[in-house]
């Protein structure tokens, strides 16, 4: 029965809400209908198992059908962009890791390349190849976290643990390389601080060889499963025009059929040297996004395999002084992070500290699409759609 319960928005936050108790003295004024036109406001989050952190979504429901949403963000706001104005360029580099903490290395790559562009230096080829390998591993790790949590949101318990098992291997590589697993701070402006360790290629190769088989395990569990298809197909459809209008990028855009990947369109690091495909979907629904990300993991694996074939010898640090003092000016540099286009806009006033750093976080912009995607769906779909957007609240709130 539609609209089984009604409380107006103000009521939901006031002390009321017992649907049908004798305690309400304002029932007469409010004329509380439960049936009919009015909506139930459900506060989803900030403490909720599947809002991926501290996202709060106010859902306006009719029965279980979503009539509208309102995202409340900022619970994890730390003022990263403001902090940048009081740190030197090097000092700020670790902070960017804390934005998208699921894909810290990608953040670091974007920032370092942006500053390098500002300084007009280039990292040496060896550094760029190692950066590429680590970033692609990070992309796989990020997609694994996405897949596990997304499947968990839809109710499949097991893929999460399989995904974490593989991610663990990647994190071990990171740990061996730079000592940290999550917020790695692996790159430095101008190149790398650390040489790759002995057996780095072998580790990556072993992981990649295993990984094809492991992907097949997830595919076996999910892709052909009729419940999974039922839960994801035609859910949260976002077509190409909408994606472009909302600025959605990354797998969301590609699932809608737009073949846009900065790794191909504006190659950075050493992506121009490798052959890989850009997987695209057709419908732009949750299932397509799932397929696109699964395929992206396969492509990342191929990139890694190609890259470890020929890591050039040479220096790992470019010609960057101890004190970074870029000329006055501004720069925008963007990379294809696992979640979409990650851009850094840096304004320099020729001091050691940036005048302003502005981040274009993919999660934040993709989150805009939520309202459009969930309207008319059920509560359960909201969870699936939040999962498929692959947001990280550290990046949304910064």
């Amino acid at each position: 029965m539609p609209g089984f319960a009604k409380t107006s928005a103000s009521k939901a936050v006031s002390k009321k809400g017992n649907l049908g108790n004798t305690l309400h003295d304002d029932a007469l004024q409010n004329n509380g209908t439960l049936l009919g036109a009015d909506e139930l406001v459900l506060n989803m989050g900030p403490q909720h198992p599947s809002t991926h952190g501290v996202l709060r979504v106010k859902l306006k429901l009719d029965g279980e059908r979503v009539r509208g949403t309102e995202c409340v963000i900022g619970y994890l706001h730390r003022g990263v962009e403001k902090i940048a104005e009081n740190r030197t360029y090097q000092q700020f580099a670790p902070y960017v890791d804390r934005m998208d903490y699921v894909a810290a290395i990608s953040n670091g790559l974007g920032y370092c390349e942006a500053v390098e562009k500002l300084l007009n230096v280039e990292a040496p080829p060896r550094a760029r190849v190692i950066r590429t390998i680590l970033t692609e591993l990070q992309r796989i790790a990020s997609h694994l976290v996405w897949l596990g949590t997304h499947a968990l949101d839809i109710g499949a318990l097991t893929p999460l643990f399989y995904c974490m098992r593989e991610r663990e291997e990647i994190l071990k590589v990171f740990e061996k390389y730079c000592g940290a697993r999550l917020t790695t701070h692996a790159f430095r402006i101008g190149g790398l601080q650390y040489e790759s360790y002995d057996g780095f290629e072998k580790d990556v190769e072993r992981f990649c060889n295993d990984f094809e088989r492991r992907i097949q395990e997830y595919v076996d569990l999910l892709t052909g499963n009729s419940i999974w298809i039922g839960r994801t197909r035609n859910v949260g459809v976002l077509n190409a025009a909408d994606c472009i209008a909302l600025g959605a990028s990354g797998p969301i855009l590609r699932a809608a059929g737009v073949k846009w990947d900065l790794r191909k369109a504006q190659p950075y690091a050493s992506y121009d040297q490798y052959k890989f495909e850009i997987p695209v979907g057709t419908n732009g629904d949750t299932y397509d996004r799932y397929m696109v990300r699964i395929e992206e993991m396969r492509q990342s694996r191929l990139i890694c395999l190609q890259a470890i074939e020929k890591i050039p010898e040479g220096a790992i640090m470019g010609k960057v002084g101890k004190v970074i003092k870029p000329p006055a000016g501004e720069i925008y540099h963007s990379i294809e992070a696992p979640k979409g286009i990650l851009g850094y806009y840096i304004v320099s006033d020729a001091t050691t500290q940036p005048y302003r750093v502005r981040v274009r976080p993919p999660s934040f912009i993709n989150l805009q699409a939520l309202d459009k995607m969930v309207r008319g769906h059920l509560v359960a779909d909201v969870v699936a759609i939040i999962g498929t957007l692959d947001i990280v609240l550290g990046e949304v709130d910064r």
Partner: protein, 457 residues
């Protein structure tokens, strides 16, 4: 002697098996439920490439007790705006219903509380279905949106799937021709087949419906943790929450028992009519003893001395139980060869053996539940309702007719198995048709902006 005492003694003499069973149900089922939880976690861990609880006791064997203690001493939180009376009452209803319905379950030919009611299976069904009053009332009383959404989902789901499950049960009841539990099992003995083989579709429908009735994945929408936090239990904590949990797991055992009684031959051992397989009656003792042997084998590999001791203790326990089985068997033999022992324990051996097989089958059934839970994603609410109303219920109705037809055919001299296969094929064809039809329907509906309301389903 005092007449009152005599009355009481007489009462005890008549009802001691029933009383003991009652006490066992009330005292042991919670513990068993705790261990079912542990088993579930262990199985889940095994399927997910991890270890599961390992800290409390060797291999986490004491985990349920630790959990119970933790839940007991936890602060009892009652939400401020909740309806206190019903908030208090709801979990109790949930658990009492599950435990009461267990009273009529026959765990073996000798172990049943309500031994001779001639509506046995209906009693189990009806009383266990009262448990969801606890869910709906608890969801309402907690004064939380998540809770009430969970309660409403639960109501709609239970009403739908109880219909399908009831129709599936009718198929089996047609075959048995009685509602009495012991007579149902006897009918399976007399007809030389478990009813799952005579009405496979009904068995399958009951499996699905019972998963939905116990709110287990993939039908765990009322408590879907990723959507409704914990559904109707959101506001519950501590021991009240534990009561819900207990009720849920006890309910699993109840539906397992119903399925075992109706479809899997109850307490009958495999091939009960084949006499050269009579050695299977030894199997319970042997299996339990083998578990003991395995424990001893594992005991040597334990890293800590305490754990080794514990394993030995478990092994000794197994041996003791196996010995009881064996001793009773020996007594039975003595009896047969004329050595008279004054105790009349005749009913106990078949009783224990029956209980062993019965519990084994119930465990198998519950294992299927768990396996599905670890494997499948969750249905969405409208999909759940559609599955119930558009596929399972029509299929169950068709199946009732099919079973009736096959019985008529048999009465008219057609070989039973031929009739069974024919009707089952027909039902399966109907199932394929239903699924196809429903897929087309949903495909055309998904293009429309709004699908019909799901609660009305």
């Amino acid at each position: 002697m005092n007449p009152t005492v005599l009355t009481i003694l007489h009462f005890l003499q008549t009802w001691w098996v029933e009383l003991t069973c009652g006490v066992v149900i009330v005292a042991v089922v919670p513990l068993v439920a705790g261990y079912v939880v542990l088993l579930e976690r262990k199985l889940m861990a095994d399927m997910q490439a991890r270890l599961g609880p390992m800290r409390v006791g060797p291999h986490g064997l004491l985990q349920p007790i630790a959990d119970a203690v933790k839940l007991l001493i936890k602060e009892d939180i009652i939400p401020a705006e909740s309806d206190k009376f019903i908030f208090w009452l709801a979990p109790v209803i949930s658990m009492v219903a599950a435990l009461t319905s267990m009273g009529a379950v026959a765990f073996g030919p000798a172990f049943q509380v309500a031994r001779d009611i001639n509506i046995g299976i209906l009693f189990v069904l009806g009383v266990s279905s009262l448990g969801f009053l606890g869910i709906i009332l608890g969801g309402w009383a907690s004064n939380s949106h998540y809770s009430i959404l969970g309660a409403l989902r639960s109501t709609a789901q239970l009403v739908s799937y109880e219909t399908a499950g009831g129709l599936a049960i009718i198929s089996a009841l047609l075959l048995s021709g009685t509602l009495k539990i012991s007579a149902i099992v006897q009918a399976q003995y007399d007809q030389h087949a478990w009813f799952i083989f005579l009405a496979p579709v009904a068995g399958f429908i009951y499996l699905v419906a019972s998963i939905a009735e116990t709110n287990r994945a993939p039908f765990d929408l009322p408590e879907a943790e990723s959507e409704l936090v914990a559904g109707y239990m959101t506001e519950y904590s501590g021991f009240r929450w534990a009561l819900y949990f207990l009720g849920e797991y006890a309910n699993m055992i109840v539906v397992g028992s119903i399925a075992t009684t109706l479809f899997l031959g109850g307490w009958l051992r495999p091939f009960p009519n084949v006499h050269w397989l009579n050695w299977l009656d030894f199997l319970p003792a042997v299996i339990i003893a083998l578990v003991g042997v395995y424990c001893i084998y594992r005991a040597g590999k334990q890293p800590v001395k305490v754990q080794t001791g514990f394993m030995w203790a478990v092994a000794l326990g197994c041996f003791a139980v196996a010995f009881v089985f064996a001793a009773l068997w020996l007594l039975h033999l003595f009896h047969r060869f004329g050595v008279l022992i004054p105790l009349n324990l005749d009913f106990i051996l078949p009783g224990l053996n029956g209980a062993f097989w019965f519990l084994l089958k119930v465990s198998g059934y519950i294992y299927v539940f768990m396996w599905l839970r670890f494997t499948l994603p969750r249905y969405r609410f409208d999909q759940l309702m559609h599955l119930g109303w558009y596929i399972l219920i029509p299929l169950a109705i068709i199946n009732v007719f099919a079973v009736g037809i096959s019985m008529l055919l048999e009465a008219n001299g057609v070989n039973r198995w031929i009739g069974m296969v024919l009707t089952t094929v027909l039902v399966l064809a109907a199932a394929v048709f239903l699924v196809r039809w429903h897929d087309q329907r949903t495909e055309s509906a998904s293009t429309a902006s709004l699908t019909p309301d799901s609660y009305a389903g």
